[in-house]
Symmetry: C2
Subunit: 343 residues, 2 copies
DNA sequence: TATTAGCACTCACCCTTTAAGAGTGCTAAT
DNA sequence: ATTAGCACTCTTAAAGGGTGAGTGCTAATA
């Protein structure tokens, strides 16, 4: 079956309507809502097709239709309309204070939550593109060695590695050379499985040590020890009945409170942001955080200084006002940019 | 009417039962639950008395009774039984990591929440007993002066004060002397209303300036700019039906997320803790944070080093298991003490 | 051939009724 | 002073019934 123009129009109308009301939308509504001048019966036929194609679905027989994840995806990819409007309030608020970064971040989160009526999160900026500068393995004990990893920005990471058998100095030297020659100058994205396996092969029986070191490197580069995440407006989810039964609300709020899982979202976003510059939309099951499979998550990467990136996220129901959220985020990014890059 | 021993026993039985079940408890239950060997009819009479005295109340005619705030208060003050038990798990976990304070605090919060099934909060330790070392007023403009307050620990606080009329140097000097002679060496608790009014009198027409300076002093001593508050287990409140309707749950979780209001709780606790060393129980309306008027809050003051105090709080329903919470908190305090004071 | 009117049917939702159960207060008996 | 007994109240859950929104299908229409 073909998705002709009329079907698109109808689908769009259905989604628009559903975004507003949150109620399944019926054929009669569409018949009136659009300028297609078609009877409800015709619409019904078209809707039946759209359902077959997987863009919409019926919560139960004899209810209206609601968009499916696929439907939302199509909408977000092709039918969204940029909206520019009352972001003035934001301008004021964001510009307010700039002396302490964390205060600004808190404000941004609060602002976003209040502005969008969804939950908002923001991660503190992290050095991300950092490259490995130096690696040093040293023996501290018969069966323990310490790996010291220094990355650009002089972040230092130590990791104790247990080894089964004692390692003589020469082997250690060899490993040191191996590690430094192969990893120096590389950033997290550049250390791929190819390099890793190659190194492990060269290390022979000490391949597990290499593995541990690489873990340490990853940690050092990510340095998410002092990854701060601020949230705001978690309780906004109560505004959407489809999320506010105890079970779901509880899970969601928990994720937002404990922050643990949000770190995953941050990393995912930063990793993806690499290619896919800017704003990303995760609908339902697309989300990297499984707890949010009934939600949509819109994330954006911001950058305070070169290589100093953080993530902003909006968490809301699938019937989120994508247009608004996306344009709000874009505006906000500009704000942040002008706030820090100009100076 | 008199609260004789039998009434106390019955009240205790009612409360105990209600703490467990959360359901209004009827006369027949008590008749069986206690070893008083009284018929339900007798209990009914006694309950009627207890209600008249305000210790219990009926949600509606022909329902059982539930404890009133007054009833809980009596219970907490006189009938609680210390409980010592499986806090072993805690010992392990708390001792785990000690290199970064904030990690420990996060863990403590998490642990408490998981252990008690209530929401937990913990504030980062603050210098609190600090005394004023020095105060200096200087004119910066025709109608602006700046107050510089230095307190022990060399925390410095500035505050701009607007004045209606220009102040000549001599007046300023007088005020400086007045402030320094009266406030130096005093800590927050020692600056009482008596001193304040006395000073304001002496300052004459400039009493409002004195007031502003005292505000600045209070801020400096509290220094809650970098007051961190960690929460955990906010979603535990969903376990208690009396708190988990949307409205209440939303408000509560919001307070826990935004932290703002919790700072008030911290300050209150620290201030009270002065006299009332140790653990405090706020039942219902007794709470310093109005949003929690349907909850009970149990707080404790902990001290890492001399004068370095923080607050731990447990937020739960009024029918909280006070015995458990109090003894858990006590145990925890010991843990924290031994963790940091021994070294 | 595409569109539409018409109609029977489904299902969630709301309202009312009904019955059961828990608990009380009062009175009279012990 | 205590208790048995009973009428009464009030909540809660279940059951029934009506309503309305919406569908799918069929037959008529442009």
């Amino acid at each position: 079956m073909q998705l002709d123009e009329r079907k698109v129009k109808i689908l769009q109308a259905i989604i628009r309507n559903y975004l507003e009301t949150g109620e399944p939308v019926g054929s009669r509504t569409i018949s009136k809502y659009t300028d297609l001048n078609l009877s409800s019966a015709t619409i019904r036929n078209e809707m039946s097709d759209l359902e077959e194609m997987g863009y919409i679905l019926q919560p139960h027989t004899s209810a209206g239709r609601i968009p499916s994840d696929k439907g939302y995806r199509l909408y977000v990819d092709t039918m969204m309309e940029e909206r520019v409007r009352e972001v003035d309030e934001m301008r004021e608020l964001v510009l307010q204070k700039a002396d302490k970064v964390d205060l600004v971040l808190k404000q941004v989160a609060k602002l976003l939550a209040a502005n969008t009526n969804y939950a908002a999160m923001i991660s503190s900026p992290q050095y991300h593109h950092n490259k490995v500068k130096f690696i040093q393995l040293s023996k501290v004990d018969i069966n323990q060695i310490v790996a010291v990893v220094v990355v650009e920005g002089n972040i230092i990471k130590n990791k104790i590695i247990d080894v089964e058998e004692e390692m003589d100095d020469q082997t250690l030297l060899k490993l040191n050379i191996l590690l430094n020659t192969n990893l120096n100058g590389l950033s997290l994205e550049n250390i791929n499985l190819g390099i890793i396996t190659m190194m492990k092969e060269q290390a022979g029986i000490h391949s597990d040590v290499v593995g541990s070191v690489i873990d340490a490197v990853a940690e050092a580069i990510r340095s998410d020890e002092d990854l701060q995440i601020y949230t705001s407006g978690a309780t906004n989810i109560f505004k959407y009945p489809e999320l506010s039964d105890h079970e779901k609300a509880s899970e969601l709020i928990n994720v937002l409170e404990e922050k643990q899982q949000l770190a995953g979202l941050v990393n995912e976003t930063l990793a993806n942001g690499e290619q896919n510059r800017g704003i990303q939309v995760y609908i339902g099951n697309e989300t990297p955080v499984q707890t949010m499979k009934d939600c949509s998550v819109v994330t954006a990467t911001y950058e305070l200084e070169e290589g100093m990136q953080g993530t902003i996220g909006i968490i809301g129901p699938k019937r989120m006002d994508y247009d608004k959220v996306v344009s709000t985020l874009k505006q906000l990014m500009e704000q942040l940019d002008s706030l820090y890059k100009k100076t």
